[in-house]
Assembly symmetry: C2
Homo-oligomer: 340 residues x 2
């Protein structure tokens, strides 16, 4: 393997010092334009590539953001990540990504790796069963900013970007009630997580406001996967007293659930009205189209990254704003709209 060219090699060739080469390469203003040109040309010619490690080591800064997400392969997550990557990359930051696979234990390991790789900042959406903040405290201790998005810790004054899950769930449930639903079921994820507990609370609140009773059998806790939707449909069909409205905490699960119900002869929305959450592409393709909440995944990713980078460059501190609530809205579609 060919020897790596260093700034010293370039310096020697040009009979200047390594310091000059280093400065020229960074376009330092105190370097003669002509010298710069010579250095850059020579570097190219010799096949030089800068060594980020040496630079990072020396500068004590990595220009890298760490991102930990529950899983990569969800429409919401990958959309948010795509936006973050774009912002970060435009600002000269790299992104290292890892997935907790919904496991708190894995998340702790991920955080450790990010810590040792000295990310300049960390952006996180929590795993299903994370219940300790400890593994993120280390970052705070070293002055490394941590921002949470979507799945965040309840309360506290931790920087986070969310939507108003409570209100959205309230709106959806209220809408179902207005469509004449009297037994509205809620299918959701792990209630430990803010996003699901808040939606559950919003749902209950709306039921109460509509004067509808809530009973245990109206709640189904699942992993919200495609398969969970089908399973949920089976359970619903086995219920002695069936629901006439179903509010599912994500679209993909809502779609499969609805699909199985339809295959078994139930009419949507008349026998059962269905609503999801996220505005995933499937909600627009399922027939009937699924009523949902427009979740600004792209904006959320964009904002998390922008916010982080502004903090890192000193343009604005993360500590002055603790919680950002993005606008999200109810999209009423055919799956819940009953003819009057």
């Amino acid at each position: 393997m060919a020897k790596e060219i260093t700034i010293y090699d370039i310096a020697k060739e040009l009979s200047v010092s390594a310091a000059t080469v280093s400065r020229a390469l960074q376009d330092h203003r105190a370097i003669n334009a002509n010298t710069k040109r010579r250095v850059i040309t020579k570097a190219e010619e010799m096949g030089y590539r800068s060594n980020q490690f040496a630079s990072n080591l020396r500068r004590r800064k990595t220009n890298t953001l760490g991102v930990i997400v529950p899983r990569l392969n969800s429409h919401f997550v990958s959309t948010a990540l795509a936006a973050m990557e774009k912002i970060a990359s435009d600002a000269g930051y790299n992104i290292i990504i890892s997935q907790s696979m919904e496991s708190g234990a894995k998340e702790i390991m991920n955080a450790k790796t990010m810590f040792e790789n000295r990310v300049d900042g960390l952006i996180v959406s929590l795993a299903y069963d994370t219940d300790s903040f400890e593994h993120f405290e280390k970052f705070a201790g070293k002055g490394i900013p941590v921002i949470f998005f979507d799945r965040v810790f309840d309360g506290g004054d931790i920087a986070s970007i969310v939507i108003d899950n409570f209100r959205n769930a309230c709106d959806i449930t209220k809408h179902l009630a207005e469509q004449g639903c009297r037994r509205i079921m809620h299918i959701t994820g792990n209630l430990k997580r803010n996003v699901y507990s808040e939606r559950f609370n919003g749902y209950k609140q709306a039921l109460a406001e509509a004067g509808l009773p809530w009973t245990n059998d109206l709640l189904l806790e699942t992993d919200l996967s495609e398969k969970a939707g089908a399973d949920a449909a089976e359970k619903i069909m086995a219920m002695p007293q069936k629901p006439d409205g179903i509010f599912v905490a994500n679209d993909i699960c809502a779609a499969t659930c609805m699909h199985v119900l339809q295959q078994n002869g139930f009419l949507i929305p008349n026998d059962m009205a269905v609503a999801g959450f996220n505005n995933d592409p499937v909600s627009r393709i399922a027939e009937p189209n699924i009523t949902t909440i427009n979740y600004p995944a792209h904006q959320m990713g964009e904002l998390a990254a922008t916010y982080m980078i502004n903090h890192l460059t000193g343009a604005a501190s993360i500590h002055t704003t603790n919680k950002i609530i993005l606008k999200s809205e109810l999209l009423i579609r055919a799956s819940s709209l009953r003819k009057k």
Copy 2:
């Protein structure tokens, strides 16, 4: 900000050398078990975190894989990435990800960053308009392995993981012909890319075999987005001579196209039979379910990462196997299945 603890600090506290600390921390076998314990305990106690840069600099190795994809937010890509991340992470590798946004120019910049960050290996799926190999040649020059997946360069002896796009397209088209379609249209992406050109060729081959003529107006080149599907439907409805079968190169585009056609009164599959590609969740949720090709995204990601890591650890060379073709298969569903 608190001072960073280094192995020297630990060494001093314990009255041993830094080398011993370094070794103990790596669980080097030539270190007394007792010493190890003391070092590890002390490190924890002092809040030590290893500095990967210093280590990388010294070892000339980063334990990082670079991945460049066209975009993160596609079901195929995020599924493949999720699988890669898992394999890499289990093997102690980090992953840094960047997206070319379908632009060859951006891809070149991404490659440069990966190069300077000294990734140990690079995994790539090409942008729409990449047509030069140059930016990857640098890697080969330094002995850094590069593996392509899905969107690869045509021919050559470059390590790549693909499916048999030609045959799959052939199968799909043949199936449509067997269902009685006589004017089969093909909606695809940029024909510069292997995946689309091969599908196009397979499609034409099957037409020829079925004795069906092909004319220019049966091909529609788009960006295969959700919106492109709707636009395509409009174009189809404006065609003087409409197709009776449509083979779309991805499911999401097929789904929206089909949806708009249905809204305008066309019956699927009887007026027009529809087929997609990828086995995206939407293909299973659209009504009727969409005939498609089961694309092993997960396996592909898994294989790319495994293959890369085996090469890096010396377990198997990338140079002995050039091209891996994964099994993929036609899934016939209601969108193309006509009653006899």
